[in-house]
Symmetry: C2
Subunit: 95 residues, 2 copies
């Protein structure tokens, strides 16, 4: 059962699209293998290829926080420095 749903909106700089999309895709298998990860799906906007949304579900906030501290997140952040215009992470609960 999901205790926490994360909706993460990521707006990428147009000239960095390919790089960031590849780095985002790298996160998927390794994150889905993490403890507490129930769902980790990446979506690309049909009307704006530079807009991505992660839909995530986690069994607890604590395990999501562990994910946010994981080495592969740090590697993503380092690899995508200066390429992301905006990132909004919403912590949500299924109604």
């Amino acid at each position: 059962m999901s205790d926490l749903t994360i909706i993460a909106n990521i707006q990428v700089k147009r000239d960095k699209l390919d790089l960031v999309k590849a780095e985002l895709q790298k996160l998927i298998p390794i994150t889905r293998a993490e403890k507490g990860c129930l769902q980790y799906d990446l979506h690309q906007d049909n009307d704006d290829p530079c807009h991505f949304v992660f839909v995530e579900n986690w069994t607890s906030r604590a395990l999501w926080q562990d994910h946010m501290q994981a080495p592969h997140l740090a590697a993503f952040i380092a690899a995508t420095e200066g390429t992301i215009e905006n990132m909004i992470i919403n912590e949500m609960t299924l109604v």
Copy 2:
């Protein structure tokens, strides 16, 4: 298999929260029963109770469009007139 993911962000006027939340919840069972609906999950923001996100998956855009023309959508729109500050509907594809 989902052909279309819908991420719908809904920002509700604070004084209309209870009314709109009830109307949003009414949409869930009837929409999940619609042809082509694979997922229709409503989420409320843990940091802003006036912010809701629908995560939807549909087997085709055409069937999603049928949903958008359905009587229960028209009833929702009528019942919530003037209560919604902002609604952004993104059509997305699973990467």
